[in-house]
Each structure stands twice: as C-alpha cells, then as structure tokens.
Subunit: 138 residues, 2 copies
C-alpha cells in the first residue's frame, strides 16, 4: 500500500512523516510534478509550473518558490530576474501525491506578461476574452 493510500484513513490533525511522503512522490517520467501556485489569502490561482525533486527541496529550504523550467531545462527561481518573488506559505499535496498545491505570497505579477495571474483568458461564447491588464512596473 502506498503512503498516499494509507493516508486516506487519517483523521483530521493526524499526520505522517514528510520523509516517508517524499520517498514516494510519484514524479513523472521526466522527474517532474505539476505545481499549482495559489495566492494564499485571495485564493486566486496564479500559474501552473513544474517541479523536480531538487526544485521542491530548494523551495522548502529557502521559502522562495523554485520550479523546473522545461523549456530552459534548468532550475527556475521564480522572480530571480524580475524581482517578482513567490514566497511559500504552505505546501499541499493531493490524494495520490501527483500534484502539488503551493499556497504562496506572490510579489507583484506572477505572469511574464506582468499580469497578476497567468489565467487571463476566458472563453465566453465563441470568443476568448482578455480579463486583465499588465500591472505597472514597481
């Protein structure tokens, strides 16, 4: 039985060891897990990116979110060049451990377009509508 299957029967407040969970995280064939970043207080979903084990452990060690860039094939320390840092408030895992939910405090825009969230396009009828404007530089 996996650690995640075993966790299903825990009562609220019960816990298991992070080491045991980490050992069984089901990274995909590329060694990655999808990570959703959600602003911790507003609930806004900001972005989805990917983490490998190294990025995850660095994020936990520093408190600043670090992803794995699939296009650049390297660690992506969010905000390193833009200054738009993402601070981790809490890491959550889903029922089978194959998706991470990062509750974060996002400094400025999360998106490379300077919009607060990357999810700025909405389908309305037959059209895809722009929802938000880029934020002004600091």
């Amino acid at each position: 039985m996996t650690v995640f299957k075993g966790a299903e029967t825990l009562a609220v407040g019960d816990s298991l060891s992070w080491d045991d969970v980490l050992a069984e995280l089901p990274f995909n064939a590329d060694g990655l897990l999808p990570a959703i970043a959600q602003q911790h207080d507003s609930g806004e979903v900001l972005m989805l990116a990917w983490m490998n084990r190294t990025a995850l452990l660095e994020t936990l060690a520093t408190g600043r979110v670090c992803y794995w860039s699939r296009s650049r094939k390297g660690l992506w320390r969010k905000g390193e060049s833009s200054g738009h840092l993402q601070f981790l408030k809490e890491l959550r895992l889903d029922c089978d451990g194959d998706t991470l939910l990062l509750l974060v405090d996002q400094q400025g825009p999360a998106c490379h377009t300077f919009r607060r969230s990357c999810f700025y396009l909405a389908l309305r009828g037959e059209n895809v509508v722009m929802l938000s404007a880029p934020q002004s530089p600091d």
Copy 2:
C-alpha cells in the same frame, strides 16, 4: 507568432476567436492538457486532472466536466458513477495555453475519498497533516 503570443497585447475586454485558440492548444505528447478545477465562488482548488481534445469539447458542449483518465485510458465523466458532478461555470486558459483553469460548481466532494478537495494533505514542519474529513454520503 502563436495565437497566445498575439493575445498578450490585447486590451481588457478584447477578444479572439475560440476556433483560432482551439486550433493552437498545445496538447502534450499524449494529447493532453492539465486542467485545474476551482470552485467558482469559494476559490477552493478542488483537483487537477487531464483533458484531451474530445474531453474538452464534450465539457463545453454539455456543461458537465469530462476529463481523460490516464489510468483507465478513457473519457472520465466526472460524477458519472458517484453523482458528484462538476458543472463548468467558465473555462480559462493560461498565457501559453498549456494549462486549463476550470471554474466549476462541484456537487458534493470532488475527491474519490469523499473529501471536498483532493488537496487535503499539508506539510507542517517535518510532518504531513490531514486537513479535512470525508463528507457524509448524500
């Protein structure tokens, strides 16, 4: 230039054609995109699953969320057996179109464990803590 790159410069309220967007959705090598389900009013992130083109189009046609089950290799009409349907309120796309955000109205629990959200495990110090209890059957 992709439709998504072109969309970056749209003003709020401007739109483009869904047909043009759909034609350029960057499904991965398995023909899938990750889809985040978020309760539309509370902002709670409920789950992450995957959609292929067929699942996405069925979801839009019916208003009930349909995923692609990677384990069962088939369409997964959310709630078909459990009755815990997910109704689509709005489809959003991220800046490069490779992640979907589904604003939904979830009937009952989203998780197979009968918890409201699949993200019921939180890392606190060296432990992973259970956050929520299964909901009672209807």
